[in-house]
């Protein structure tokens, strides 16, 4: 007897159902702001308000500086955006199959579609927030607070790596959460830990203890976030080694996620 679908089957199925995935992403976006007065503008307002709060707090309440050449609120914002995209997608993945239980049990529907939709709809929100970051950067550059990072043209590459890693993890989380309901709560705390173990609210060179710095450098999420922020905000061209490392992490996450999912795929409809 088979012990699960072949991993390639999961990928092929996602490709075959790309039309459905696209429709479901649109459905998610439509449903999310349905009935609100500002509608899609919230995708813009949310990051804008977040930035405003950070700017206010870290300019007047606790004046903080992360690096010498970038205002701290923008620095924090540039790290938080990809993190919120990733952690939001993973947290939703942990419940997406349970939420769509009726579809899995009553309609014939491929389960891999749902984590993919979750990641993509979070990605859409993320991409909609990027102009806010760019505008803030441009304004700060115009005020002479920093140089405008022309490396931003490389942002799509950094983003692709991050999306690949998040998608793989989302597949694994979705399938595992069906069998292991505790995962949702576990994940919440785990993400909290990883958040502080990744240079998002600080930079690596500000860590006083050498050993701790090494540890945080070894955190696999670190290269992905660093590469992203380097090109989007800091105007630093990451080294080839850095790119390779980030790419390797992304690939391993993706492969592991697809493997876990394909192993558990056949049991999802009857367990969920």
């Amino acid at each position: 007897m088979s012990s699960g679908a072949p991993p390639l089957g999961v990928i092929a199925s996602l490709y075959r159902h790309r039309g459905l995935v696209a429709m479901l992403v649109v459905r998610d976006l439509k449903a999310r702001y349905r009935g609100t007065f500002f509608g899609y503008l919230w995708s813009l307002f949310n990051p804008l308000l977040l930035l405003a709060v950070y700017a206010a707090v870290f300019t007047w309440v606790i004046p903080a500086r992360a690096t010498s050449d970038v205002p701290y609120p923008i620095f924090l914002f540039a790290g938080l955006l990809p993190w919120l995209f990733g952690s939001g997608a993973l947290l939703d993945s942990a419940i997406v199959l349970a939420d769509n239980g009726p579809l899995l049990k009553k309609v014939v529907c491929p389960p891999e579609v749902f984590p993919a939709v979750t990641v993509l709809s979070h990605l859409v929100h993320h991409v909609l927030a990027l102009p806010v970051l760019l505008a803030a950067t441009a304004v700060a550059a115009g005020m002479g607070l920093m140089r405008f990072p022309w490396t931003v043209v490389l942002a799509p590459f950094a983003l692709v790596l991050w999306v690949v890693a998040v998608s793989g993890l989302a597949l694994a989380v979705a399938a595992l959460a069906v069998h292991f309901r505790d995962l949702k709560d576990l994940l919440h705390n785990l993400l909290n830990l990883v958040f502080f173990a990744t240079p998002i609210i600080y930079t690596l060179d500000r860590i006083p203890v050498r050993l701790l710095r090494r540890l945080i450098q070894a955190n696999p999420v670190t290269p992905l976030i660093e590469v992203y922020r380097d090109v989007v905000l800091l105007g630093v061209l990451p080294s080839l080694l850095m790119w390779a490392w980030a790419a390797a992490v992304a690939l391993v996450c993706w492969l592991a996620g697809v493997w876990v999912f394909s192993r558990l795929r056949e049991t999802i409809a009857e367990t969920v």
């Binding site: 429709m23 449903a31 579809l103 049990k105 529907c109 876990v260 056949e266």
Partner: protein, 412 residues
């Protein structure tokens, strides 16, 4: 029939794992590390919901699954729909399957009926363009017209179900799996559903139907599988399977427990049918007759426990299971008074106008409520011959009268 069946189940069993947190963790570990999820479960943990089911459904055939609650009907349906995988055995489906298990399952309350219809259609296997092409038909059939662009949370439950049904049948599946859906909606919509199902039947869609409405099963299905406790009791023409099920239920209600019996013959034995014969006018036994001859079906019986509530019934079926005639003494207006000793009863046909072919006869004696004293399937087989090989099963005397076309009559 030479073509492949639309659905073929071979020795299918389904075992559900018991849902305990530890069991889940254990199976998760097994699946990830050793890929042993299925093997481990086959050894015998969990609940065996379906055991050793063989089934073939041809194109254009409507097949029903009947049985008491918890007999594995829905599990069987989900296996055919591809929602579940069998623990053992194989499920082969030829073509596109659509499941009407819960209408409107997975509609998103916040988005419009139109978007939900499109997404539902795509889940059922259509492309976006195909759904859009069929959308006018879906809207027309569901009758939700002006509400199409309202979020479905504002729909009444009837509208919800109508939209779900409309989308599912618009897919024009090769295999349609239906679970009790016709119980919903008002009378008018139920009729339209039946019309639509009849259209699919003519198109060649194989339909697998689960219903507790036994009248509907007899009306729609040609054959039926009677399940009890996950095990098949019999696969037979729908009328026969329904009669068996009714008899079992009546027996249980009378406190006798489920009557024993084979798939061909069952009953509580209060009366037994000794012989079922086809005889000609002179009382001679026949195996072959020509269409339109007179004949009678003669049933000889012996009574062990005298009865005051009894009905004799006869059904004639084509060899492929298609019903031709079914009648009984109750339908024909006879009132039962007393049945004791032994005797004979005959159902006489002055002209048995059947099309040529082989026919099988079921005979039964049962209580009015359906409890079988003795029910014998295929108690008799006979062959009808005719000079012309008319298709179908009814061949009455007939004559052409051309009032215009210039034609010469057949010789003789």
């Amino acid at each position: 029939m030479s073509e492949r069946p639309a659905v073929r189940l071979t020795a299918v069993s389904k075992r559900y794992p018991m849902h305990t947190p530890r069991g889940r963790l254990h199976s998760l570990k097994g699946a990830l590390l050793h890929g042993e999820l299925w093997r481990a479960r086959q050894v015998g943990e969990g609940f065996l919901a379906l055991d050793g089911v063989d089934l073939e459904i041809g194109r254009g055939e409507t097949f029903a699954v009947i049985g008491p609650n918890g007999s594995g009907k829905s599990t069987l349906l989900k296996l055919v729909a591809g929602i579940l995988r069998p623990t053992a055995g194989s499920v082969e489906i030829d073509g596109r399957v659509t499941a009407l298990i819960e209408l409107g399952a997975g509609f998103h309350p916040e988005i419009s009926g139109r978007d939900n219809a499109i997404i539902n259609g795509m889940m059922l296997g259509l492309s976006r363009a195909e759904v859009l092409r069929r959308l006018p038909e879906i809207v027309e059939f569901s009758g939700i017209g002006p509400f199409l662009d309202q979020p479905v949370k504002t729909y009444s439950s009837g509208m919800y179900v109508r939209l779900g049904f409309s989308v599912a049948v618009a897919v024009e599946p090769d295999v349609l799996v239906v679970d009790e859906i016709l119980a919903v909606g008002d009378e008018a919509f139920a009729h339209r559903c039946l019309d639509r199902i009849a259209r699919l039947q003519r198109r060649g869609t194989a339909i697998l139907l689960v219903s507790h409405d036994l009248g509907l099963v007899e009306q729609l299905a040609q054959r039926a599988l009677y399940l009890r406790g996950g095990t098949p009791v019999m696969t037979a023409p729908a009328g026969v399977a329904v009669a068996r099920y009714r008899s079992d239920v009546a027996g249980e209600e009378a406190g006798a427990g489920a009557p024993a019996g084979s798939a061909r013959r069952w009953g509580n034995g209060a009366v037994s049918l000794d012989a079922v014969d086809l005889v000609d006018g002179a009382g001679r036994s026949l195996r072959m007759l020509s269409s339109g001859e007179s004949a009678a079906i003669r049933i000889a019986y012996t009574v062990r426990v005298p009865q005051e509530d009894f009905v004799f019934g006869v059904a004639i079926n084509r060899e492929d299971g298609g019903p031709v005639l079914g009648t009984n003494t109750e339908l024909d207006g006879w009132t039962a008074e007393r049945l004791a000793g032994s005797g004979e009863i005959a159902l006489e046909f002055p002209r048995l106008e059947l099309a040529p072919g082989r026919y099988l006869v079921d005979a039964a004696v049962h209580a009015k409520g359906g409890l079988a004293y003795d029910y014998a399937c295929e108690a008799l087989a006979f062959t009808v011959t005719a000079p012309v090989g008319w298709p179908g099963s009814y061949a009455p005397r007939h004559r052409w009268t051309p009032r215009g076309p210039a034609m010469s009559p057949p010789p003789g």
